[in-house]
């Protein structure tokens, strides 16, 4: 799959309260959540984000609460993928489970500026910075995670596991 979009860049330790403040968690509809996406850190995000855009951050992106509302809001806002050096572990699981791609790549984070246009080939982890004319490669997923992603996320994976258990 080829993804293409503009980079919205943030710092280290972006927490889930910044991604979707807890006061909005009395609903769980992704489209509703998306209206407040990144509100705690970037009030302009919702009005500027375009389908396909990419969120980039430094380290420990998505720290804090376990709310799946965070990756759901980001996905529903139209973001195609998140690139960081590291992710908080619960956020990482949640994003993979709901089919929001995450890529870990130190070099891309160091050399990409806010507003740059990136083109990403998910299967190979190739990140092309079209604005700066650079190419980076993200860390490959561990085999197990790749299997989960290939299955179409955790729910599909679980379905097939249960089927094979019954046979």
């Amino acid at each position: 799959m080829l993804l293409k979009g503009k980079v919205h860049k943030y710092g280290a330790d972006v927490n889930t309260d910044a991604i979707i403040p807890a006061r909005y968690l009395n609903v769980s509809e992704p489209a509703e959540l998306a209206k407040h996406c990144m509100e705690g850190i970037d009030k302009d995000f919702v009005s500027t984000v375009k389908p396909g855009d990419i969120i980039m951050a430094i380290t420990n992106f998505g720290c804090g609460s376990s709310r799946e509302h965070a990756p759901l809001a980001i996905k529903a806002a139209g973001v195609s993928c998140i690139i960081a050096k590291t992710f908080a572990r619960i956020f990482f699981r949640n994003a993979i489970n709901i089919g929001l791609p995450l890529l870990e790549c130190d070099e891309a984070v160091d050399k990409t500026k806010a507003g740059d246009i990136l083109e990403i080939e998910l299967a190979s982890g190739k990140i092309k910075n079209l604005t700066g004319g650079m190419v980076f490669t993200a860390k490959p997923y561990p085999d197990f995670m790749a299997e989960l992603i290939a299955a179409g996320g955790l729910i599909e994976y679980t379905k097939s596991r249960l089927v094979s258990r019954r046979i």
Binding site: D17, S28, S65, S66, L148, T158, K159, L162
Partner: protein, 418 residues
């Protein structure tokens, strides 16, 4: 193997597990709350099974926005309640409930040697009892409700050793804030924090819950303690099923060993907007406050209320401060009432609420306006956590929070108790 590795291995088909390995782990208990359950239930229904794998191993607690603060939260709670009734899942209605991480240990639902997963990041609290407990998202919980197991990457363990005796007004909250201040909010990313040393041994179980609770604030997957006599005593009257106590091997491999001498540390305060932004209370400076919150899954237990009462007894909350005290469960509330703590609070001019997460996540019962400041015994002080994006939250132990409520600014208990 470390303590965490031993517990994980005992819940797989393997004899031994090592850090970095992907394993399928059987779970003893699965938890969700009124915020995370609705998504988990919808995802569960997509899997296409009718029943959860074992209704006695799934528990749901309405605590974040209850008693329901608005129609939207009432709808979420209803969805969860209906599912629990239909499935026969363990459920605690308003009147029996408490904040999930205060309630579950108190009810004997989490025991040493268990693997517990919860759709709440502070599920790590149960590590205080020698449990491997970790937070996940709703979809992970949905899948586990169908299968009874979950995939995990075996985490490395960081051993933290606390030497020395604790000073006056210094407790579990101060040790964990001090630690997060030192290693940072990602200092234990993907790892287990194993808490040991004589300062840890000297802590009550309530104090250990506070520490384990905030392991996630350092990015950890779990925080864990060895089981000792205090743990056994806590468990004995509560456990309704057998459990197993595990010990780390003497040759267990740790990713890191960190030693602290804590004999001279002061009560700690985490300044906005990060739990790692800590200072000793004497170095915080002159910070006026509008509100104090004493409660939450971090410090809403009986010992916390007793400590707050020691400070508030025969004193008055500053006329410009709203002091909100929230017992963590109905049992804590009742015990506090019997001991006369509630009377002390009300006479001091504090308000006492029914158990709820409420202000901890900016939900209700004490949301902050623009420019307001709160000192709170909760665990997160992120931007907007307790309300307005322009408000500020300072984190501390219950004695500092209570003393600050009296002084109207952040002070050490020493300044109030003379």
């Amino acid at each position: 193997m470390t303590l965490a590795e031993k517990i994980l291995a005992s819940h797989t088909d393997k004899k031994k597990v090592s850090p970095g390995e992907f394993v399928t782990v059987r779970v003893d208990l699965i938890l969700a709350n009124d915020v995370t359950a609705p998504i988990a239930i919808k995802e569960f229904q997509r899997i296409g099974v009718d029943k959860v794998f074992d209704p006695k191993k799934v528990v749901m607690v309405p605590d974040h926005f209850v008693p329901n603060k608005d129609i939207a939260s009432a709808e979420q709670a209803k969805l969860m309640r209906d599912f629990c009734y239909e499935q026969g899942i363990i459920y605690f209605e308003v009147g029996q409930m408490g904040i999930e991480h205060v309630l579950l240990p108190e009810q004997g639902l989490v025991l040493p040697g268990d693997v517990v997963i919860g759709a709440d990041s502070h599920t790590c609290t149960y590590g205080a009892l020698g449990t491997f407990a970790t937070g996940m998202g709703s979809t992970d919980i949905a899948a586990a409700m169908a299968t009874g197991d979950v995939w995990m990457k075996v985490p490395p363990t960081i051993k933290l050793v606390y030497h020395g005796g604790l000073g006056k007004w210094v407790g579990g909250k101060d040790l964990i804030l001090y630690t997060i201040g030192d290693i940072g909010v990602d200092g234990a990313l993907y790892s287990v924090m194993e808490f040991t040393g004589e300062a840890i041994d000297s802590l009550s179980i309530d104090g250990r819950f506070t520490i384990a609770n905030m392991a996630i604030e350092a990015g950890a997957k779990a925080g864990i303690f060895r089981v000792d006599n205090k743990t056994q005593l806590y468990i004995k009257s509560r456990a309704k099923r057998p459990y197993r106590v595990y010990e780390p091997d003497s040759d267990a491999e740790y990713a890191q060993i960190i030693d602290y001498d804590v004999s001279n540390i002061e009560p700690q305060v985490a300044l906005p907007h990060s739990p790692a932004n800590t200072k000793p209370v004497s170095q915080v400076g002159d910070i006026e406050i509008n509100q104090t919150v004493i409660g939450s899954c971090t410090n809403g237990r009986l010992e916390d209320l007793r400590l707050a009462a020691r400070i508030l007894k025969r004193r008055k909350v500053h006329p410009r401060v709203r002091c909100i005290i929230i017992p963590g469960s109905q049992q804590v509330y009742l015990d506090a009432l019997t001991e006369g703590l509630i009377e002390i609070f009300i006479k001091a001019g504090a308000v006492v609420s029914t158990p709820t997460c409420g202000p901890c996540l900016g939900g209700h019962m004490g949301v902050l306006a623009d420019g307001e400041r709160c000192i709170s015994t909760t665990n997160r002080n992120f931007v907007g956590r307790m309300g307005s994006l322009e408000s500020e939250v300072y984190l501390s132990n219950p004695t500092v929070a209570a003393a600050s409520a009296i002084a109207g600014r952040i002070v050490s208990p020493e300044e109030v108790v003379t």
